[in-house]
């Protein structure tokens, strides 16, 4: 009796048990093979990343960062920082950005219609005065610009632009307009950059001035670490497991998502938390898309598309060290929202650029990177969830002995844990930013434990994200006249999402606001669409 006959028989039977049996028979092997394939691909990418990082480290001494920091010819950088209700840390982060090592950089802060004391604090700390400066309109801007401010006496290279609330993408575009230097660096308002980060990440532009159009910096989870004088002084593991899982997740995701792909010249995601672009190129492609949730991913993809279409030779480079440090959600509630949003942004962006997927015209991006993203990032949570639901059912209905199911599940988890530990090894061999033995132990435990619960939850959240997109799209299509509004809503700091309690960690335990803010932060510091599997 072939499996087709079984299928027919069981379907005719029509019982729940029968359905489950069919599903198990049809799906078990594909799901298992999928899990095997996805983790193996991670292993390969981590291997590539390892090679890339060793290459990078061998060049430590010949990189010439010292020289670049002293040279008046070093390309100048405008750091663009969009801020919305950031009163808790804005002054500290702006001072830290101003004090980064670089011969000529300016900081452009765009206050995106904050309703708290963000601007008042900035004005007091930097002695700002309003000036009647008009901003160029290189990029289209949706919201109204209210005013432009500079420090009295031109004490520091700082510009603060106040505008009506319009979302991060719109604020960033205003920042690009106000930026006066050749390179623009996008950072989060709460990012902490390593002192040499700006210099190192801008280096590829100088080394290969014709081809390099964008560089991506590494993003790490700062939770638990100590900050001294605006820089990360002592890297430690955070307290809660939710944050710990993310620390290892970020390490793995950066190995998998950045260094590996960069090695293959196919980097398609530059995080909005730390990416640098040639300003003229950003203007050329039209800046960030205000109607898109995953605007950083969208911009990178559009950049690739534009460059390939205009037949230009170009490079997008990943710089694995030094890093930008960002605080990750410390509670499940916020994490859930973040992951839903990432997944939704990923799907939206891939949908928008679906013409590139599998298209030989876009070279490795179209033929390898994008299909990989669809197969292993977009679909991954769905398949994982299928496995998570199916396995207990199969056991419950006596279709599979529980020992076999448990052993299989453990095998899958074990393989995944091995991948993570391999990423930890790459980190240990290369940058080893964490020093404590106890934290190493915690990291290893987290690599194993995240497979029991955390990963399944992540898959659930991501599927929810996909679901909300499908539902949302139907609504928009149902009522065409609301499309602009809906698009605007998505961009304006996710007004569609309901109030959530403040969940950021110990660093800003004192923050009282946080609903909108935490939400907006969600999509900016992603290490990679889908840090989970």
């Amino acid at each position: 009796m072939s499996w087709v006959d079984v299928l027919q028989l069981e379907l005719l039977g029509g019982t729940v048990r029968g359905t489950v049996a069919v599903l198990v028979q049809v799906l078990a092997l594909p799901v298992l093979l999928y899990v095997l394939a996805i983790n193996s691909s991670y292993l390969v990418l981590i291997g590539l990343a390892g090679v890339d990082m060793v290459r990078y480290l061998r060049r430590e001494r010949i990189r010439g960062v010292e020289d670049a920091s002293a040279s008046p010819l070093t390309q100048s950088v405008s750091v663009v920082m969009a801020a919305y209700n950031e009163e808790a840390g804005i002054v500290g982060s702006v001072s830290a950005m101003l004090a980064l090592r670089h011969p000529r950089h300016e900081v452009v802060v765009v206050d995106d219609g904050s309703t708290d004391a963000t601007f008042a604090l900035l004005r007091e700390a930097f002695d700002l005065v309003e000036v009647p400066r008009r901003l160029p309109d290189d990029l289209p801007v949706r919201a109204r610009i209210r005013s432009v401010h500079v420090p009295r006496g031109g004490r520091s290279p700082l510009v603060v632009v106040r505008k009506d609330n319009g979302g991060r993408a719109d604020a960033t575009n205003v920042g690009v307009n106000a930026a006066r230097h050749d390179l623009v660096c996008f950072v989060d308002a709460d990012s902490v950059l390593d002192p040499d980060a700006l210099l190192t990440v801008s280096r590829p532009f100088a080394d290969d001035p014709v081809r390099v159009v964008a560089t991506a910096g590494a993003v790490r989870a700062v939770n638990g670490s100590t900050l001294v004088g605006g820089r990360v002084a002592d890297v430690r593991m955070p307290r809660g497991w939710t944050a710990r899982f993310q620390v290892v997740e970020y390490l793995r995701a950066f190995c998998v998502g950045r260094a590996g792909w960069s090695r293959m010249q196919s980097l398609i995601l530059i995080s909005g938390a730390f990416g640098m672009y040639r300003r003229d190129v950003v203007v050329e492609v039209g800046g960030m898309d205000t109607s898109c949730i995953g605007e950083d991913f969208e911009l990178t993809l559009r950049l690739h598309r534009h460059m390939r279409r205009t037949h230009r030779e170009y490079r997008v480079v990943f710089v694995p060290e030094p890093a930008s440090w960002t605080e990750v959600p410390a509670t499940r509630t916020v994490l859930a929202r973040q992951r839903r949003r990432w997944q939704r942004g990923l799907a939206e962006t891939l949908w928008r650029h679906r013409g590139m997927i599998g298209n030989p015209r876009y070279g490795r991006i179209g033929l390898v990177a994008l299909p990989y993203f669809v197969l292993f990032e977009l679909v991954a949570p769905v398949i994982e969830l299928v496995g998570v639901v199916l396995a207990p059912l199969a056991v419950a209905f006596g279709l599979v002995p529980w020992q076999a199911a448990a052993a299989l599940a453990l095998l899958c988890f074990g393989y995944a844990a091995m991948v993570t530990v391999a990423a930890l090894l790459v980190e240990e061999v290369s940058f080893h930013r964490s020093q404590r033995w106890r934290d190493l132990g915690r990291g290893l435990v987290a690599a194993v434990l995240e497979n029991f619960g955390h990963r399944q939850l992540t898959a659930l959240w991501r599927v929810q994200g996909l679901w909300s997109l499908l539902r949302g799209q139907r609504q928009v299509w149902g009522a065409m006249d609301r499309q602009g509004l809906a698009a605007g809503g998505a961009a304006s700091a996710g007004t569609d999402v309901v109030v959530l309690p403040e969940t950021r960690g110990a660093l800003r335990a004192s923050r009282a606001d946080g609903t909108d803010r935490a939400d907006r932060t969600d999509r900016t510091d992603r290490p990679l669409a889908g840090a989970g599997r």
Binding site: E66, S69, A70, P72, S95, A96, L98, A99, L100, R101, P103, R155, S156, P195, V228, G229, G230, R231
Partner: protein
Amino acid sequence: MTTVLVADDDLDIRELVAFKLAQAGYEVRSAPDGAAALDLARAGGVDIVVLDLMMPGLSGLDVCAELRRQEATADLPVIMLTARAQDQDVASGFAAGADDYVVKPFSPRELVSRVQAVLGRTRP
């Protein structure tokens, strides 16, 4: 005994400067960043400050401007240590209130003579 405060985030430079100045008969206190330098300067007992221009957190310019702003340290002589010898950087150093500057890589002997010269100029 004259006390010099040295602030630089590069350990080698800090030790080299401290070593040379100690050799020249000064008492030396050192700080690894701008904030620590400010604290030490405010604590008093410092006669002259050698400041690195580019320090993470609080830059040399910030520290210098802050020293000038406060009455107790307003007259404290400051020598900037900078890798950037372009005129505009030197100018912004002077604008922030620096008395002199030394270019990195630095000549230890030149540093000592500048410290002496600035002290001679600013002291009655």
